[in-house]
C-alpha cells in the first residue's frame, strides 16, 4: 500500500514537473505572434524592424535578440519590455501587444503613430508598469480604462493630440510616480493626484485644463447662474420697493382727500378762532 502510494506520488510529481516546464513555453508561441503582429501592423519607414526582427530563426530565446525587445529570461521567448522609441514607425496603436501576455514595459515614444488608444487598453497590457506613448500623433480621448492598469509607475502621453477631459479615475493609480500630458488638446479639471506625481509642467500647453497645480476651475454655467440669482434678487427687491412706494403714495392721497371732505371750507379751527374775535368787536 505504502509503496504504490509512493509510486503514485513520484508519477504525480513527474507529471507536474513536465507540466510546469511546458507551461513556461506556453507563453512562447503567443509572444512570437505578438511581435509578428506588431511588425505587420506598423509601417517601418527606416527598415529597423525589417533588418532585426527575423522570424525564420527558431532557436530558443531568439526574439530576445530583436531590436527593442527585452525578455524575462535570455533563453526563453517571453517578452518583458518593448522599447521602439524613435524608430520612424507609422500606424495605429499595435493591438497585437495583447499577445505579449507578460509585458511590463511599453515605449513607443517619438514615432508617427496615430489614432486612438484602445478603449480596453487594460485588456491589452494590463500589467504594464511603464507606458510611454509620448511624441506621436495619437488622438481621441484618454481612456478611463487606463485606471485598471493598476501597476503603472510611469504614464507619459505628452506631445500628442488627445482631446477631452483627463479621466479622474486616473487618480486611483496608487503606484503612479510620473504622469505627463503636456502639449495635447485636453480640457477640463485635472485628476486629484498626489502632489508628488504631477506639477504644472505635466499639464502645460493644452486647450483648457484647470484645477490641481493649475488655476482653479471656473465654469461659465456657474457664472451665469450666479448672475441670474443676483439679478433676480435685485429685481425682486426693486419691484418690492416700487410696490411699497406706490402703495404709500395711494395711502397718503386717500388721507388728504378725506380731510378735504370733512372740512370743505378748510381751516375749520382757524375760523372758529376768528369767529370768537368778531363777536367781541360789535
Amino acid at each position: 500500500m505504502l509503496l504504490s502510494s509512493r509510486v503514485l506520488d513520484i508519477c504525480g510529481g513527474v507529471v507536474l514537473w513536465l507540466l510546469l516546464r511546458s507551461s513556461l513555453t506556453l507563453g512562447v508561441e503567443s509572444d512570437i505572434n505578438c511581435l509578428k503582429s506588431i511588425k505587420h501592423s506598423l509601417e517601418d519607414t527606416y527598415g529597423y524592424l525589417n533588418s532585426s526582427w527575423n522570424f525564420n530563426n527558431n532557436t530558443e530565446g531568439y526574439i530576445c535578440r530583436f531590436t527593442g525587445v527585452e525578455c524575462w529570461h535570455p533563453d526563453e521567448n517571453k517578452v518583458l519590455n518593448i522599447r521602439l522609441s524613435d524608430m520612424g514607425l507609422k500606424g495605429p496603436f499595435p493591438q497585437g501587444i495583447a499577445n505579449c501576455t507578460s509585458i511590463t514595459g511599453l515605449d513607443l515614444s517619438n514615432n508617427k503613430l496615430f489614432g486612438p488608444i484602445p478603449i480596453n487598453i487594460s485588456h491589452i497590457a494590463g500589467f504594464v508598469t511603464t507606458l510611454d506613448l509620448s511624441s506621436n500623433n495619437f488622438s481621441g480621448p484618454i481612456p478611463a480604462n487606463l485606471s485598471n492598469c493598476s501597476y503603472l509607475n510611469v504614464l507619459k502621453l505628452d506631445h500628442n493630440r488627445f482631446t477631452g477631459q483627463i479621466p479622474p479615475e486616473l487618480a486611483l493609480l496608487s503606484r503612479l510616480k510620473q504622469f505627463s500630458v503636456s502639449s495635447n488638446l485636453l480640457t477640463g479639471p485635472v485628476p486629484n493626484f498626489n502632489a508628488s506625481v504631477t506639477k504644472a509642467e505635466s499639464y502645460a500647453n493644452n486647450l483648457g485644463l484647470c484645477g490641481g497645480p493649475l488655476d482653479a476651475c471656473v465654469s461659465s454655467q456657474k457664472n451665469s447662474r450666479t448672475v441670474i440669482i443676483v439679478a433676480s434678487a435685485v429685481g425682486g427687491a426693486t419691484v418690492a420697493a416700487l410696490a411699497v412706494g406706490v402703495g404709500l403714495a395711494f395711502f397718503f392721497r386717500r388721507v388728504s382727500v378725506r380731510k378735504k371732505e370733512e372740512d370743505p371750507e378748510g381751516n375749520k379751527w382757524a375760523r372758529s378762532l376768528k369767529g370768537t374775535k368778531g363777536i367781541k368787536a360789535s
Binding site: 510546469l20 513556461l24 524575462w72 529570461h73 533563453d75 518583458l80 507578460s102 511590463t104 500589467f127 508598469t129 501597476y151 509607475n153 477631452g164 477631459q165 479622474p168 479615475e169 487618480a171 486611483l172 503606484r175 510616480k177 477640463g188 479639471p189 485628476p191 486629484n192 484645477g211 490641481g212 476651475c217 465654469s219 461659465s220 454655467q221 456657474k222
Partner: protein, 235 residues
C-alpha cells in the same frame, strides 16, 4: 676573513630569498582564493557533461578556465554555467568572489539551499538560479546586494517568505520568483512597486486583499461644466 665573507653572503642570500617569499607571491595568493572557491563548487557539483574539465586548481588563477571570466586584475567577474546538466549543491565559498558580477547557474538540476554567503557578493548584478531544484528560504542577506539588477529564482522549490529587506534594493529591475513554494505576503513598497503578479505567480502567497474602490463624485464631469471641490473626488 673568509668566515666573515661567507657569513655576509649567507645572510644577504637569506634576506634576499625571504624578501622574495614575502613580496613575490601575494597576487597569486588572492587569485588562488578565488580559484579555491570555484574549486569547492566544482567538488560539490556532479558534472556528467564534463563542462568543468578545464577547471584546474593548480593553475595560478581561474581566469583561463572555461565558463569563467575575469577582469584586468585577474579577478573573477562572471561564472556562466547555465544549461550545463549539473547536479549537486552550491557552496558557501561562492561568497568569496568579491568582483563577481554575473552568477549564471540556471537550467540545471542543482539542489540544496541558496548559501547566505551570496550576500557578500557586493558587486553582483545578476543572480540567475532559476530552473533548478533549490529548496529552503531566500536568504535575507541578498538585500546587501546593492547593485543587483536581475534576481531570477523562479522554478525551484524555495519556501518561506520574501525578505522584506529586498524592497531596499533600489537597483532591482527584473524579479522572477514564480513557480516556487513561497508563502506570506507580497511586498508592494520600495523597489517592489515595479513588480507585477507575473513575478510572483504559482506560489502559495497570501491572497492580495481586494482594495475597495474609493468613492468617486456622483456625476461624471465629462458631460457638463459643473465642478466640485477637488477633495471630494478621491477619499
Amino acid at each position: 676573513m673568509e668566515m666573515a665573507e661567507r657569513l655576509i653572503s649567507m645572510i644577504s642570500a637569506f634576506s634576499f630569498l625571504s624578501l622574495i617569499l614575502l613580496f613575490g607571491f601575494p597576487e597569486n595568493v588572492s587569485a588562488n582564493t578565488e580559484g579555491d572557491a570555484l574549486n569547492a563548487l566544482r567538488t560539490n557539483l556532479v558534472d556528467p557533461n564534463n563542462v568543468l574539465q578545464s577547471w584546474d586548481p593548480t593553475l595560478v588563477n581561474p581566469c583561463t578556465w572555461f565558463h569563467v571570466s575575469c577582469n584586468s586584475e585577474n579577478s573573477v567577474t562572471r561564472v556562466d554555467l547555465g544549461n550545463a546538466n549539473l547536479t549537486g549543491t552550491l557552496v558557501p565559498q561562492l561568497g568569496q568572489l568579491p568582483n563577481l558580477q554575473y552568477l549564471e547557474l540556471y537550467s540545471n538540476n542543482i539542489s540544496g539551499r541558496i548559501p547566505e554567503e551570496l550576500g557578500n557578493l557586493t558587486n553582483l548584478v545578476s543572480l540567475d538560479l532559476y530552473l533548478n531544484n533549490l529548496t529552503g528560504p531566500i536568504p535575507n542577506t541578498l538585500s546587501k546586494l546593492g547593485k543587483l539588477r536581475f534576481l531570477r529564482l523562479n522554478n525551484n522549490s524555495l519556501s518561506g517568505t520574501i525578505p522584506v529587506s529586498l524592497t531596499n534594493v533600489s537597483s532591482l529591475q527584473v524579479l522572477d520568483l514564480s513557480n516556487n513554494n513561497l508563502t506570506g505576503d507580497i511586498p508592494v513598497n520600495g523597489s517592489f512597486t515595479l513588480f507585477t503578479p507575473i513575478s510572483f505567480q504559482n506560489n502559495k502567497f497570501n491572497p492580495v486583499p481586494p482594495s475597495p474602490p474609493p468613492p468617486l463624485s456622483p456625476s461624471s464631469p465629462a458631460s457638463s461644466d459643473i465642478l466640485y471641490p477637488m477633495s471630494s473626488l478621491v477619499s
